[in-house]
C-alpha cells in the first residue's frame, strides 16, 4: 500500500500525462464502487491492461473507492431503487434485463444499478476534476513543496538515500 502511494506520488510528480493518472483513478472508481466480480469489471481490467493507463493509480483508486463503497452501499441502494423503479427506465431496464450480459451482471439489483449509475455519472466530472487538480498540483504545489526546507532536508537525508537504494525507487519529489 505504502509502495503504491509512493509510486503514485512519483507519477504525479513525473512528466506522465495527467489523463493517464486521472483515467486510471476513474476506472478504479468504477471497479471499487461496483461489484468486484462482474463482467463489466473484467472489461475494465482489459482496458486498463491493454491501454497505457497507470496501474498504480488504478490499484490505489480501486482500493480507496472500494473502501468508500462499504459506506455508500445504502446510498447506492436508494439510487438504484429510484432508477430501477422509475417509469422512464422501464423500457430500457426491461431491454437490458433481457440481455444475458446485463442479467449476469445483476443489473436489476439496486446496489449494482446504483453503483454503476454513480460510477458512470461521476466518471467524466471526476476525470476532468482530477486532470485539473493534477495540473494545478504540478504547477503550484509541487514547486512550493520542493523549495521547502523539510523537503530539501528529507531528500538529502541518509535515510531517504538508503530507502531509495533498497527499494529501487527514483526520487519521489
Amino acid at each position: 500500500m505504502i509502495r503504491q502511494i509512493a509510486k503514485l506520488i512519483r507519477i504525479l510528480n513525473s512528466e506522465t500525462a495527467p489523463i493517464n493518472i486521472s483515467l486510471a483513478i476513474c476506472f478504479g472508481m468504477v471497479v471499487g464502487f461496483t461489484q468486484m466480480w462482474s463482467v463489466h469489471n473484467l472489461i475494465i481490467l482489459f482496458i486498463i491492461l491493454f491501454f497505457r493507463v497507470n496501474l498504480s493509480a488504478f490499484i490505489l483508486g480501486t482500493l480507496v473507492f472500494k473502501s468508500l463503497s462499504f459506506l455508500l452501499n445504502s446510498v447506492f441502494h436508494q439510487i438504484g431503487l429510484s432508477l430501477l423503479t422509475a417509469e422512464v427506465f422501464r423500457n430500457l431496464g426491461t431491454y437490458l434485463y433481457n440481455i444475458t450480459f446485463w442479467k449476469f451482471d445483476r443489473i436489476n439489483n439496486t446496489i449494482v444499478a446504483g453503483s454503476i449509475l454513480v460510477s458512470i455519472v461521476g466518471f467524466l466530472p471526476m476525470l476532468f476534476l482530477l486532470n485539473f487538480l493534477i495540473r494545478k498540483y504540478r504547477k503550484h504545489v509541487l514547486g512550493y513543496v520542493r523549495k521547502t526546507k523539510i523537503a530539501k532536508a528529507l531528500m538529502s537525508s541518509e535515510f531517504y538515500h538508503y530507502y531509495k537504494k533498497i527499494t529501487g525507487f527514483k526520487d519521489v519529489l
Binding site: L45, F50, H77, L84, T85, R90, K103
Partner: protein, 575 residues
C-alpha cells in the same frame, strides 16, 4: 497510437482471467457447498452441512454427498439426511444466474437421524410448539374427603345465621344499657309509698288534706306518666329489634337451597370430560404433531408465496439471500424462475424398507413457472407397514387461488408399544395390531379443511394409574379400555395455520361415557345427600341458639310489663 497501447497487457489479462477461473474451478466445490449451506440455514434456522460437493463441467452438473439438515427444535437430530444428490444444470440459464435443473436424483433420504454435533445456530430461536393443556380432572369420588371439604366450605346460610347471633348480642347489650336507665320496680315502690302517704293524709284530713296534697298528687302523676311513656318506648324498640332478628333469621334460611345448589355444582362429579375422553388420550401424540407440522408450514409457506414484495406501483422485487440490495423484477422474453427443478426422483433408505417417489416442478416462483409443485411417494411391503402412499400439491401459481394439499395413506402400520399420557400419573399403552392412517390436509387460501383418520385393528390396550386418588372412575375406564381392540380416531382441523381448532373424536368416547355415566349418577346422589345433611346440621345448631336467645329477649319485655302494671295500679289509686 502505439504509445497508448500495451501489447503485453493482453497476455497479462489472459493470464489473470485464466488464474481467476482456475482458482474458481478449484474452489467451486467449496463455493457450491457454502452457498447451499448458507441458503439452507437461512431457510431452516439450523445447521445445514454438505459433506462433499463435486462440480462437473461436461456434462454440467453437481453431485452432493451426505447432506444433513439439522432440526432447529432438536439440534442433536437431523430433520433430513441425504446420502447422495445428483443433478444436471442447464448451462444456458446459468449465465442469467438461474439454476434450472432438468433432472435430479436424491438417494438415501433419511429422517430424524442422530447428529454428532449440535445443529443449533446461535441467536436463532427454535420453533416453539404449543403444548397441549393438561386440563383433564379426575372427579373426586372419595366421600370421606368430600365431607371434609364441604365442612370447610363457606356457606351463605351459616354466615347469615351467625350475623343474626351477633345482632342478638348487640340487642342484648343495648337492652341491658337501656334497662339500667329505665324506671324499675324500686321506682314503683317509691311511688307507691308516696301515694300511700298522700292517700292516708287525705283520708284523715278530708278536703283540707286533698287541697294540701293537690300539688304533690299532680307531680306524682306526672312522674308516673313519664315513666310509663319511657317504659313503653323501650318496650316498643325491643319488640322492633326482636322482629328484625326474626326476619334476618328467616332470610338466612332462604340461602339453604342456594348453598346446596352451589356445593352440588362444585362437588358433583363432572362427566363432560368423559364424553370426549379420546382427546385426553391422543392430545399429546396427535395435537403436538399437528402443531409442529403447521409451524413448519407457517415457516415455509411464505417462500412459495410470492417472495417478491411490492416496491412501487407495479414494480416488484425480492431480497436475494446471498447478496445485498433488492433484485427488481422486469418482464422477461423467456421467463424462468431463479431456481427450478423439473423432476427430482427420490428414494428413501430406511431400515424398514424402500420408498420411492418424485417431486415435479419445484420452485418458489410458481407465478413465473406457471406450474404447481407436486410430490408423490409410494412404498410397498415395508417393514413398518403394508404400504405408504403420499401425494401432495403446492399450488401457488395464482395469487388469489392458493391450494396446498397433502394426502397420506398408510396401510396396516404395525403398532409398536406406544405410551399415551392422559394426565400426570395416568398412562395408557397401546400395543399389538395395526393401524390404517389417512391424512387429508387441505389449505385453501389460508383456510385449513383437514381430516385425519386412524383405524386401529386388533390392538391391546392397558392402562396404569400411579396417582394417589383412589378413583372408581379410573378403574372403570381401565376395565372398559382393556376390552377394546378395534377403534377409530377422527381428527378434524379447521381455521387458519396460525389459529386453528382441532377436534378429536373416537368410538372410545361413547364406550367410556357409557361406562362412567351410571357410576357418576349414583355418586352425584350421594354427594347431594351429604351436602344437604352437612348444611342442615350446621343450620340446626345455629337456629337453636338464635331461638333460645330471642325467647330470652321476649322475657325481658315481660319484665317491663310488670313495672307498667304496677305504675298503672298506682295511678288508679291516686285521687
Amino acid at each position: 497510437m502505439r504509445k497508448w497501447i500495451r501489447w503485453w497487457g493482453i497476455a497479462v489479462f489472459i493470464l489473470i482471467v485464466l488464474f481467476v477461473f482456475g482458482i474458481w474451478y478449484l474452489l467451486a466445490d467449496q463455493i457450491i457447498a457454502n452457498n447451499i449451506e448458507t441458503t439452507g440455514e437461512y431457510i431452516v434456522g439450523a445447521k445445514v452441512e454438505v459433506g462433499k460437493a463435486d462440480l462437473t463441467i461436461i456434462p454440467l452438473g453437481v453431485t452432493l454427498n451426505n447432506l444433513q439438515v439439522a432440526n432447529p427444535n432438536s439440534p442433536m437430530q437431523n430433520l433430513i439426511e441425504v446420502d447422495n444428490i445428483r443433478f444436471h444444470l442447464d448451462g444456458k440459464y446459468l449465465f442469467e444466474r438461474k439454476v434450472i435443473i432438468k433432472d435430479m436424483v436424491i438417494d438415501g433420504l433419511k429422517f430424524n437421524t442422530e447428529r454428532k454435533k449440535s445443529g443449533e445456530i446461535k441467536g436463532v430461536k427454535p420453533l416453539t410448539v404449543k403444548r397441549a393443556i393438561d386440563d383433564f380432572i379426575i372427579p373426586l369420588l372419595d366421600l370421606s374427603k368430600l365431607k371434609t371439604f364441604i365442612e370447610q366450605e363457606e356457606l351463605q346460610t351459616v354466615n347469615g345465621l351467625r350475623a343474626v347471633t351477633q345482632d342478638i348480642k348487640r340487642v342484648e347489650k343495648e337492652w341491658q344499657a337501656s334497662y339500667r336507665m329505665m324506671p324499675n320496680i324500686d321506682d314503683m315502690r317509691e311511688y307507691r309509698n308516696r301515694a300511700s302517704v298522700i292517700i292516708a293524709d287525705i283520708k284523715k284530713n278530708k278536703i283540707s288534706g286533698l287541697i294540701a296534697h293537690s300539688r304533690g298528687i299532680k307531680r306524682l302523676k306526672e312522674e308516673i306518666d313519664r315513666d310509663i311513656k319511657d317504659l313503653k318506648i323501650n318496650q316498643k324498640a325491643m319488640s322492633i329489634d326482636i322482629d328484625s332478628l326474626k326476619t334476618k333469621k328467616n332470610r338466612a334460611l332462604e340461602f339453604v337451597e342456594k348453598d346446596i345448589a352451589k356445593l352440588r355444582k362444585k362437588y358433583t362429579p363432572d362427566i363432560r370430560g368423559f364424553k370426549n375422553f379420546s382427546k385426553y388420550i391422543f392430545k399429546n401424540d396427535i395435537l403436538l404433531q399437528i402443531d409442529e407440522g403447521l409451524l413448519w408450514y407457517n415457516k415455509l409457506e411464505p417462500l412459495f408465496n410470492y417472495i417478491s414484495k411490492k416496491l412501487k406501483d407495479d414494480y416488484y422485487g425480492s431480497e436475494p439471500i446471498l447478496f445485498d440490495g433488492i433484485d427488481v423484477q422486469f418482464s422477461e422474453h423467456d421467463p424462468q424462475p431463479s431456481f427450478f427443478i423439473e423432476l427430482a426422483k427420490l428414494s428413501f433408505k430406511q431400515a424398514t424398507g424402500n420408498l420411492s417417489g418424485e417431486i415435479k416442478n419445484f420452485t418458489t416462483q410458481q407465478n413465473i413457472s406457471g406450474l404447481s409443485t407436486s410430490i408423490k411417494l409410494d412404498g410397498y411391503n415395508l417393514d413398518f407397514a403394508e404400504s405408504v402412499n403420499i401425494s401432495g400439491l403446492v399450488d401457488h401459481v395464482n395469487e388469489s387461488e392458493i391450494n396446498d394439499n397433502l394426502t397420506v395413506s398408510v396401510k396396516k402400520q404395525k403398532i409398536n408399544k406406544t405410551e399415551y399420557q392422559i394426565i400426570k400419573d395416568w398412562k395408557l399403552n397401546i400395543h399389538n395390531g395395526s393401524v390404517d392412517k389417512i391424512f387429508n390436509i387441505n389449505i385453501h387460501n389460508g383456510n385449513i379443511i383437514s381430516k385425519i383418520r386412524f383405524q386401529y385393528i386388533g390392538t391391546s390396550i392397558n392402562s396404569s394409574y400411579l396417582g394417589e386418588v383412589n378413583s372408581i372412575i379410573i378403574s372403570t375406564i381401565d376395565s372398559v379400555l382393556t376390552k377394546i381392540s378395534d377403534f377409530y380416531v377422527n381428527i378434524n382441523i379447521s381455521g387458519t395455520p396460525s389459529n386453528y381448532i382441532i377436534t378429536i373424536k373416537s368410538d372410545i368416547d361413547n364406550i367410556v361415557d357409557k361406562a362412567v355415566r351410571k357410576i357418576v349418577q349414583d355418586e352425584a346422589n350421594k354427594v347431594r345427600n351429604i351436602i344437604t345433611q352437612i348444611i342442615n346440621n350446621k343450620k340446626e345448631v345455629l337456629i337453636k341458639d338464635i331461638e333460645t336467645k330471642i325467647e330470652q329477649l321476649t322475657l325481658e319485655i315481660l319484665k317491663v310489663d310488670d313495672i307498667l302494671d304496677e305504675a298503672k295500679k298506682i295511678l288508679k289509686v291516686l285521687p
